[in-house]
Structures are given as structure tokens and as C-alpha cells.
Amino acid sequence: MAQSQTQGMAPETDEAAHFQAKVDREIKIEPRDWMPDGYRKTLVRQISQHAHSEIVGMLPEGTWVTRAPSLRRKVQLLAKIQDEGGHGLYLYSAAETLGTSREEMVDALHEGRAKYSNIFNYPVLSWADIGAIGWLVDGAAIINQIALCRCSYGPYARAMERICREESFHQRQGYEIMMSMAFGTKEQKRMAQSALDRWWWPSLMMFGPSDRESAHSSQSMQWKIKRVSNDDLRQQFIDMTVPQADYLGLRMPDPDLKWNEERGHYDFGEIDWAELKRVVSGDGPCNKERMAARIKAHEDGAWVRDAAAAYAEKQRMRKEAAKIAAE
């Protein structure tokens, strides 16, 4: 694929100008359309990161699937994890339309060249954490994803629509778990509070660095890969979530959190950006374990994938032979 090396803000060729014009008129870019290299790269990075997050995200929840406290909750959690695997599939497929294979993307993850959502580097310590993940983590994800449904790249936008529907279902289930816990026994309420205490700040960090710091934002905005800024999404999440926490009777772990009548938004405390940086760069509580688990699954499964490939090849040869014999 020979492509011009267009980068930067201003379209430098006719193709580039045509591309940007389509984007500006909200016409979706499709896989066979011309697109700037930077657009392609940004999308592959972002979509694969999103896919990896779905896959790595199965691990912390998998921690509790064998300890789900009722048959109904066990079924729900299994269904949720299964959906996440499915999201991973759509997203890898969407990224593959940009010319990068799933294998390459997975290798990049395992070799530490690709990232996944930092949120999955925190440990899942009680059943209430499963509720908190549904409520807060899926809640934050949806806010991000709703914005992405309007992304300029067609396959990504369509994958997002499908994902959003399922995620909002997960989010409701998560909140429902939080309700059982927060309105349950003393011990359950305590677990719920502990979960909120531990997951609140990491959830806010899911929206990425502040707009002041965000490296890729302005170009992504122009390309309409990104439609809303990190800080705006974060504020939207906070505004939506605080009343939900109030309803649960749980205390937000942020003394600076309060309604600002003038702004019409909640003010909140300063995020520990150093922690975000540390976790993203690999030094969170569970980064090593998550990657080790993914790599182990991949390595342990190598013989299975080899067998499937060998069998498919044998079948192909047999068909070929049968065809020749029938000629």
C-alpha cells in the first residue's frame, strides 16, 4: 500500500484535502478509502489498545467467576466476560480492516509495545469489586464509547455502537450488584465502600491525561477519531456517577468533590497523575501478573493453534486431492 506520508494539521495533497472534507462533512471513512498514514496509525493504535483492554479485562473478572455468590450472578458474570471476548473480536476485526493482523497486534501487546486500559492493573479484592467494575469501569468506558460511535472511521464507529449496547447492560448489572451490597449487611456495605474507595480514582484516570497534557488530542479531534476531550468526558462521568453513589449511600473518596452551582458541574480533587503515569508505564499493582497471565495463555495454547492449523491444512490438501481425482 503506497501512501503519501501526510501528517500534521493541514492537508497537503488533493487526496488529503478530499479526505478531510469527507471527515468534515461527517461522511464515514471506509477501509478502501484513501487515508493519511497518521490517521491509519492512530486508529490501529487506538482500536488495538481498545481490543487488548477487552481481553485483559477478562482476567480480573475471571478471578471471581469461580466465586460468584449465586447461580444468577455466576451466569451474569460468565455472560459478561463472554461479551468482552466478543468485543475483543469485533475490535480486532475493525483494526484488521486497516491492514494490521490480529497476530501482529497480539504480539505487540505481549512484547509490551501496545497498551491496554490501565484500570485492569488494579486487583479485584472482593465481590463488591465486581459490582464496582461494572458500575464505574464500564460506566466510564461507555462515556468514552458513546463519543466513539461518531468516530469518522466506519468500522470502528459501527463496532462501538454494538459494544455500547452491551456495555450499558453490564453497567446496569454492576450497579445492581452495588445496590445489593450497599443495601445489604454491614459486611456487604463495607465491601461496597472499600470497592468504591479503591476503584474511584483509577476510573477517573481511564479518561487519560488532562487536556493540557494529552499528546494526540488536537490531531485526533480534527480527524474526528476523537470527538470529545478527555477532561469533558471525565466531567460527564463524574456528574453522572456522583448522584448514583449518593443513592447507594456510599462516600466518595474525594474530600474536594462538591457541586458547583455556577459551572453546573461537580468540582473534584486533583488526580494523582504520577500514579497514572506509573501504572500506564507498567508499575501498577497487577501489570506483571496480567501480562504474565496473557502470555502464559498464549504460550500454553500454541500447540492447540498449531494443531488447528495443521488440521485445516490437511483438510485443504484432501479437498484439493479429491478435486484432482474427480477431474
Binding site: 477478562m58 466465586r67 447461580l71 451466569v75 466476560i81 450488584i177 445489593s180 497471565a293 500454553d300 494443531a307
Partner: protein
């Protein structure tokens, strides 16, 4: 035979159905996030989901038959090992993917036969659940059967692993077809089939897939049973300790 004895036998029989589905579903759920390839991770979760869903239906009905003293969840989360009625096959550890697939395949072939017969049960509740479960079991059998073929006729390594798993698990299949007094009562009442009746079908189905997979039907005659009367392997206790932790640690909680 007294109505009471009939009721107890039916309860016991439903536990067997529910326990097999739940324990095997639980084992599959241990694969979450660890599958050899993403599609398979999803497939294993999906089968786990079907089985736990079926377990829920059987145990809910069992709870009703018992008289409502215990809920399906209490049956699932408050019984200790001596009261479980699943086959030893279902509780065997996952091992590698070959072990999991072979365990699943041997069970699925049995499950399809059993559920097919149960769709004709004189008990309409059972027939109804079986109808729903059968559709799922047919998919499960297709899935595990295809993997047995792929692994058996794949590479030298996969062939060796799947044959090894087959040899290791074969002795647990005898139990699937050994009828006892409960089965006899169910058969008399037209509720359930004699499990011995479909052993031949099972052997044919399994044999056909193994042949296609270039695998050998194990020859040894070691076999072991006991699950139906609560004599399990040492593995079940560990599984239950994990599965039942929360309801046991917080007996007053609703989840």
C-alpha cells in the same frame, strides 16, 4: 411405592442432573481468560454459561420437589461434598486443553443421549428443561467433537496429548451407564431412561469421532464410580471450597 419415596427419588435424580451441569460448568469457567485462542475462550465461557443455566433450572425444580425448604442457590452453595451427586468425570481438573476437551466430549455424547430421552419424560417439567438443554448439548457436542478431530488429526503433539487425555479419563465413563435403584424408579415411572440403554449409542458416537480423529479407543478396564452416591474424588472438595466461599462466609447476605 410410597409417594414420599417417589418424591425423594425424583429429588435425588434432579440433583444428579443439576450437579453434573453445575460442576462441569464451573470447571469450564476456570478457563476464563486462559483459552488457547480468543474464539475458544468465548466458546468455553459460552458452554459454561449454558451448563450453569441448565443447573439452575434443574436445581430450581429439585428445590420445588423437595418442598421449598431450600432454594436452588442453597442447594448449590450450601451442600458439602458427601451430598453432591455429579459423576466423577465432571469434577476432574481441567488439565490442559486436550484434557478439558476430552472430558467435555465424553460428557456431551452422554448428555445428548440422556436429554433426548428426557424430552420424552412423563414429567412435563423435566421434558421441558430437557428440550431446551438438548439444543445446547447438541452444540456442545459438535464443538467438542470438532476439537477432538482437530487435535487428534492435527500435529504429533496434539495427537499424543488428546490420546493421553482419553486414556486418563476413559475409566470415568463406566459410571455414566451404571443404573442404580434411583434410575430404576425413574424408569418405572416413565420419568427417565435406563442409562444402560444408550451406552451403545454413546459408544458409536464416540467411536465414530475417535476414528475420524485417528485416535484409539482405550483398552484398559480400570474404571471408577461413586459420584451418584456421594463418593467423590479428592478434587471436588477444593472446587466447593472456592465456589461456596461467599454464601458460607456471609450466610445472612443477599447478593
Amino acid at each position: 411405592m410410597s409417594v414420599e419415596a417417589q418424591r425423594e427419588a425424583l429429588f435425588e435424580y434432579l440433583l444428579r442432573l443439576g450437579d453434573n451441569a453445575l460442576i462441569l460448568g464451573h470447571r469450564l469457567s476456570e478457563w476464563c481468560g486462559k483459552g488457547p485462542v480468543l474464539e475458544e475462550d468465548i466458546a468455553l465461557s459460552n458452554i459454561a454459561l449454558d451448563l450453569v443455566g441448565q443447573a439452575n433450572l434443574w436445581l430450581e425444580f429439585a428445590a420445588t420437589v423437595e418442598g421449598g425448604e431450600r432454594s436452588a442457590d442453597e442447594l448449590a452453595f450450601k451442600r458439602d461434598v458427601l451430598d453432591w451427586r455429579n459423576f466423577l468425570l465432571a469434577e476432574q481438573p481441567n488439565g490442559d486443553f486436550a484434557q478439558t476437551i476430552v472430558r467435555q466430549f465424553l460428557f456431551d455424547c452422554f448428555h445428548v443421549e440422556l436429554l433426548q430421552a428426557l424430552t420424552k419424560s412423563a414429567n412435563h417439567e423435566i421434558a421441558g428443561i430437557a428440550e431446551k438443554a438438548l439444543k445446547e448439548a447438541l452444540y456442545h457436542r459438535r464443538h467438542s467433537g470438532q476439537w477432538v478431530i482437530r487435535l487428534g488429526d492435527g500435529t504429533e503433539e496434539s495427537h499424543a496429548r488428546v490420546q493421553g487425555a482419553l486414556d486418563a479419563l476413559w475409566g470415568y465413563t463406566r459410571e455414566l451407564f451404571d443404573g442404580d435403584a434411583i434410575d430404576e424408579m425413574m424408569m418405572q415411572a416413565g420419568i427417565a431412561p435406563d442409562p444402560g440403554d444408550f451406552e451403545t449409542n454413546w459408544k458409536n458416537a464416540v467411536g465414530a469421532v475417535l476414528a475420524e480423529a485417528t485416535l484409539t479407543v482405550p483398552a484398559g478396564d480400570w474404571s471408577i464410580g461413586g459420584g451418584k452416591k456421594g463418593v467423590h474424588s479428592e478434587h471436588l472438595g477444593f472446587l466447593l471450597a472456592e465456589m461456596q466461599f461467599l454464601p458460607r462466609a456471609y450466610p445472612d447476605a443477599q447478593w
